[in-house]
């Protein structure tokens, strides 16, 4: 399990993350949602060790994450867009990532589903955006890490490829592994996610099961619920959120008293 404890990050005068505490439950798909600039990417980068938190702690299976980065053996990452060097062949990229993680069990399911063998000798610079995104997904799913972090994973994929990827995400969950996913397509997240973490202005406003969020907001869909939360935030009606224990422990979403915002 990955646990973030009172993470704070500031860029210049901007508080990007303010005391964010979040646990990504083992065997669950957790959707990280929020408006643009809410701190989702920074949070992901802190988990990956790309960005250092000013304060707070990151624990992986109870152990503090260190600078050496060995804890990242437990993490697979799919960035929003693939930017592999244009003059490398697809095979070079896949081999490089495999060699950087020696000894890890390789999972070729997605590579087979996307027929990577057919494009193995092609230069990355000659691939279409969608095909690059498939390579991006294959790199992330090449191993069997305990946590997969997927940033807008279906962006740029055709419907069939997106469907294959979503099936793979479900398979990962069935294997008891965790997924932290961001997307702006709420309908997609609704079909995949067990938990939702809603960030706004760098603060975690909700963390809990999807059903609980729908119940509390009265929204029929995840999109309704999240849109409702965003409207409340924009109107200044801040929601005070209390989460107890790791997600999906009981969480409450309650309006703050009038004038407290």
């Amino acid at each position: 399990m990955i646990t973030l404890d009172t993470i704070r990050k500031r860029f210049g005068a901007l508080d990007v993350l303010q005391d964010v505490s979040l646990s990504v439950r083992t065997g669950a798909v957790t959707a990280l949602v929020g408006p643009n600039g809410s701190g989702k990417t920074t949070l992901i980068k802190i988990v990956l060790g790309l960005t250092r938190a000013d304060r707070g702690a990151l624990h992986v299976d109870g152990e503090p994450a260190d600078d050496a980065g060995a804890y990242r053996r437990a993490i697979g990452y799919m960035p929003q867009a693939a930017h592999f060097p244009a003059n490398l062949r697809v095979g070079d990229v896949l081999d490089l990532v495999k060699q950087l993680r020696p000894g890890e069990a390789v999972d070729n399911d997605l590579a087979r589903a996307y027929d990577m063998d057919a494009i193995r000798d092609k230069f990355v610079g000659t691939l279409s955006g969608g095909t690059k995104q498939k390579v991006n997904a294959v790199v992330a799913f090449l191993f069997r890490p305990a946590l997969l972090i997927l940033d807008e994973p279906t962006a740029g994929l055709d419907p069939l490829s997106a469907n294959v990827l979503k099936e793979k995400i479900r398979a990962v969950r069935r294997e008891g592994r965790s997924v932290l996913i961001t997307s702006h397509i709420m309908a997609e997240l609704e079909t995949l996610a067990d938990e939702v973490a809603f960030l706004c202005d760098g603060r975690l406003r909700f963390a809990g099961p999807v059903a609980e969020l729908l119940n509390h907001t009265g929204g029929r869909t995840l999109e309704d619920a999240i849109a409702g939360l965003m409207r409340s935030e924009r109107a200044g009606r801040r929601t005070a959120v209390v989460t107890a224990g790791p997600i999906p422990g009981p969480s409450w979403l309650a309006p703050e008293p009038e004038g407290a915002a």
């Binding site: 050496a68 980065g69 990452y77 244009a86 003059n87 070079d92 990532v97």
Partner: protein, 262 residues
């Protein structure tokens, strides 16, 4: 295979197929071969190439290097997300940029001297030119890497790279000459020697020219340098200075890479 070698191998594969690197190699090859073709003797070709090396090589290493580091940013983030130490990743990324640049120069400028080995160029002169070119490639690739890690604004980064080139390759010597003229009545020899060592382009020039009997081309500081240290010691000092010019910017870039947020 360790992380440094893996990332270096990927960098070599990528840049050896890069059209700009190929064009850069062919340009040096064409110009050096052309100079021999049009009747130049070895020493003449060496001197002509030296002027080109001192002007073009820092420009290419700085501008290409800065743009390359910016363009690799997302790929670097993906590599940083793997369980690999930052220090090793940085070493692989730097060498993956600097070695193809140095290799392109070595191949482009070196092959014509091998082909025309009987045309009178001294081995010492050729080795000094190629060594100075490799040193400049490594030094300016390190400076380019540092610039690109220093600022996230790509336009500002490329501007800084161009400004650095303008100062090092064009303006610096004029400023030193101006200072020498302005303070001509004072004992300025030692400060001027220090100023010469403070510019890798000047260091490379002196390194090559101390191997040739052409004091007149050394410029004020170069002539002073040779008079003060003599040829053998002068070559040694210039070589150490050039290595220092590789190590210091590399150290700064590495420190920045280890500490910065991506």
């Amino acid at each position: 295979m360790n992380v440094v070698l893996l990332v270096l191998q990927a960098g070599l594969r990528d840049l050896s197929r890069n059209r700009w690197i190929v064009a850069y190699t062919l340009s040096f090859l064409g110009i050096a071969e052309g100079l021999f073709w049009f009747g130049g003797t070895g020493p003449q070709v060496l001197l002509s190439l030296l002027n080109l090396v001192l002007l073009v090589l820092p420009l290419v290493a700085l501008v290409f290097g800065t743009i390359h580091v910016y363009a690799s940013r997302e790929f670097v983030e993906l590599l940083l997300a793997q369980p690999v130490p930052r220090r090793e990743l940085f070493a692989g990324l730097y060498l993956g940029l600097a070695l193809p640049l140095a290799g392109a120069f070595l191949v482009g400028a070196g092959i014509p001297f091998v082909v025309h080995a009987r045309d009178g160029a001294t081995i010492g002169g050729v080795v000094a030119l190629l060594g100075a070119g490799v040193g400049l490639s490594l030094a300016f690739a390190a400076i380019a890497t540092w610039i690109a890690l220093f600022t996230d604004d790509r336009l500002k980064g490329v501007g800084l790279a161009l400004g650095t080139w303008l100062v090092a390759a064009v303006v610096y010597d004029g400023l030193v000459l101006g200072a020498a003229a302005a303070f001509g009545n004072y004992p300025v020899e030692r400060p001027l020697l220090g100023l010469m060592l403070a510019n890798p382009v000047d260091v490379a020039r002196v390194l090559v020219l101390t191997q040739l009997d052409v004091s007149a081309l050394m410029g004020y500081t170069g002539a002073l340098f040779e008079r003060t240290f003599g040829t053998a010691l002068g070559t040694g000092i210039a070589a150490v200075a050039l290595v220092t010019w590789c190590v210091i910017p590399l150290g700064l870039a590495g420190r920045r890479f280890l500490r910065r947020d991506f």
